[in-house]
């Protein structure tokens, strides 16, 4: 059996390693659209003191040791589903018995009045990050469009370098999609304390060729770099061309299988039904989900019929703060707060019937990590924990696990 994986990001690489961990001995081709050795993306927006580094996924030699044929700097152009072949930009053709599409996502481009804005920069790849950090310096004017995770993490980094940072968010608050309002307010306050200027609820009217941003209320913001962090789009074009079913990403079933049983999709590019959330089709952009789905897809390609049901989990680091979110709060009707210390707290999101759906924690360092982990296990068990226990920081959440049904 031959397995081809398109995309050597977190998901594709983890899938290739998992195939070997499962004992698969056949050929594995991993198509890497980038010229670098496959690397981790989260450090791109949270570089260490020495600047941005290329952190190889799974270590430097792992792919070689595992006999995974890495085709670097080559793009998969098309999938011939009848011949079961993938055509690459370097004219190679890779035959497959099972194919995994792990093409990830790309930044949503900034469009103003129907036109692309060529002055805008983005952050997705190592090259993007390198180009950005190479120019950030004291008194450098960085204007960030979008108060999402990437924009906020970059804002925190750029302040460390002493840059003049302005962040523009058109919605009524930052992190509107993913984070409860009270935690978002704490994050915003931390950024203001660090000297970031916010324009919230303000739309952009124009960006001049010299990168002067004008807001709709007439405010002008001169900028050396304009960085757009306004969400991302799943890379579905290859699947679309191969006429696979699409719906907010490449649509897959619980085994991460597309509408062609020989083809699977996983990671940022796919939308899958989640058994913990009424089997609603969701697409998540999370590093751990990319790993877990890579692992799951590998097992599925080798014959497992288990449904993917890992609890979604996400983290973000800004300054000394860490945010961790487990689960999805979209159907929650009640919030219970657990104050761990002066700075750290967790919000538990409960459904009308008392089931724990999600937990969002914010604190210094790893202060909220353990409780979020217990919350994650309770979510997986569909537990309906006692609210007074959740609210009491002295109560050990671990003890709820054995009693949860």
């Amino acid at each position: 059996m031959r397995i081809v994986i398109i995309g050597a990001g977190e998901c594709g690489v983890r899938a290739s390693l998992a195939l070997r961990e499962q004992g698969f001995d056949g050929a594995i081709d991993l198509v890497n659209g980038e010229a670098h050795i496959p690397y981790e993306r989260p450090p791109l927006s949270k570089p260490s003191a020495d600047g941005v580094a290329l952190k190889p996924i799974g270590g430097t030699d792992r792919l070689l040791e595992d006999r995974i044929a890495l085709h670097s700097d080559s793009i998969a152009l098309s999938i011939d589903r009848d011949a079961r072949e993938v055509a690459l930009s370097n004219h190679e053709r890779l035959p497959y018995d099972k194919l995994l599409i792990a093409t990830g996502a790309r930044p949503r481009p900034l469009v103003l009045n129907g036109n692309d804005v060529p002055q805008a920069r983005y952050l997705r790849s190592y090259d993007d990050a390198k180009a950005l950090y190479d120019v950030i310096s004291p008194d450098f004017r960085l204007t960030i469009l979008g108060g999402g995770f990437i924009g906020l993490e970059i804002a925190a980094e750029a302040r460390k370098y002493g840059a003049i940072v302005t962040l523009i968010e058109s919605a009524p608050r930052i992190l509107g999609r993913a984070v409860p309002a009270s935690l978002a307010a704490k994050i915003e306050a931390r950024h203001r304390m660090a000297g970031v200027t916010f324009h919230i609820g303000k739309a952009i009217a124009s960006v001049s060729a010299a990168r002067m941003i004008t807001l709709e209320d007439g405010t002008e913001i001169p900028s050396d770099v304009v960085l757009a962090g306004i969400g991302s789009l799943p890379n579905i074009e290859l699947a679309q061309k191969a006429e696979l079913t699409i719906g907010n990403g490449i649509a897959v079933n619980g085994m991460l299988q597309t509408s062609d049983p020989a083809i699977y999709a996983a990671g940022d590019c796919c939308s899958f039904p989640h058994p913990l959330y009424d089997n609603k089709h969701i697409r998540i952009e999370s590093w751990r989900a990319a790993q877990e789905q890579g692992d799951h897809a590998a097992k599925a390609m080798l014959g497992s019929t288990d449904a993917y049901q890992a609890v979604p989990w996400f983290w973000s680091d800004q300054y000394d703060l860490t945010l961790q979110i487990a689960g999805l709060a979209m159907d929650a009707t009640e919030e219970i707060e657990r104050k761990i210390d002066e700075q750290a707290s967790i919000l538990f999101h409960l459904a009308a019937d008392g089931r724990l759906l999600a937990a969002s924690g914010l604190g210094i360092g790893n202060s909220i990590a353990r409780d979020i982990r217990f919350a994650e296990m309770l979510i997986a068990k569909r537990a309906k924990p006692d609210k007074t226990f959740l609210a009491d920081p002295a109560f050990k959440l671990k003890s709820l696990l054995s009693s949860a049904v």
Binding site: W287, Q291, F374
Partner: protein, 103 residues
């Protein structure tokens, strides 16, 4: 040359749990499970995060940062995102004191 260093009282570590121990500018993690004691390096091999803030489940320590896992008896890395094993150290108990053997 190795030497045995007194790290803590055995009762300082709750059962199935971990604590941090700093010695000579290095940090370690000490574990207890059913009255067996183990010691490893204190920092995760993925991004140098203190494992003592993590979670012990059976013989596994899970990193608080990105949930990388190690078997704390052997130090073996147990899957994504960690790939480098953790260093382990011998332990012994004398009169309710836990000692670890350091180089």
């Amino acid at each position: 040359m190795t030497q045995w260093i007194k790290a803590c009282k055995t009762d300082d570590i709750p059962d199935e749990d971990v604590i941090r121990f700093d010695h000579d500018n290095k940090t370690y993690a000490l574990y207890r499970k059913d009255d067996q004691f183990f010691a490893t390096d204190g920092l995760c091999t993925h991004e140098s995060v203190h494992l003592a803030d993590g979670l012990v489940m059976d013989y596994t320590i899970e990193c608080p940062k990105h949930n990388g896992r190690f078997d704390y008896r052997t130090g073996a890395a147990k899957g994504a995102p960690v790939c480098i094993n953790l260093k382990t150290y011998p332990t012994k108990i004398e009169n309710d004191d836990l000692f670890i053997e350091l180089a």
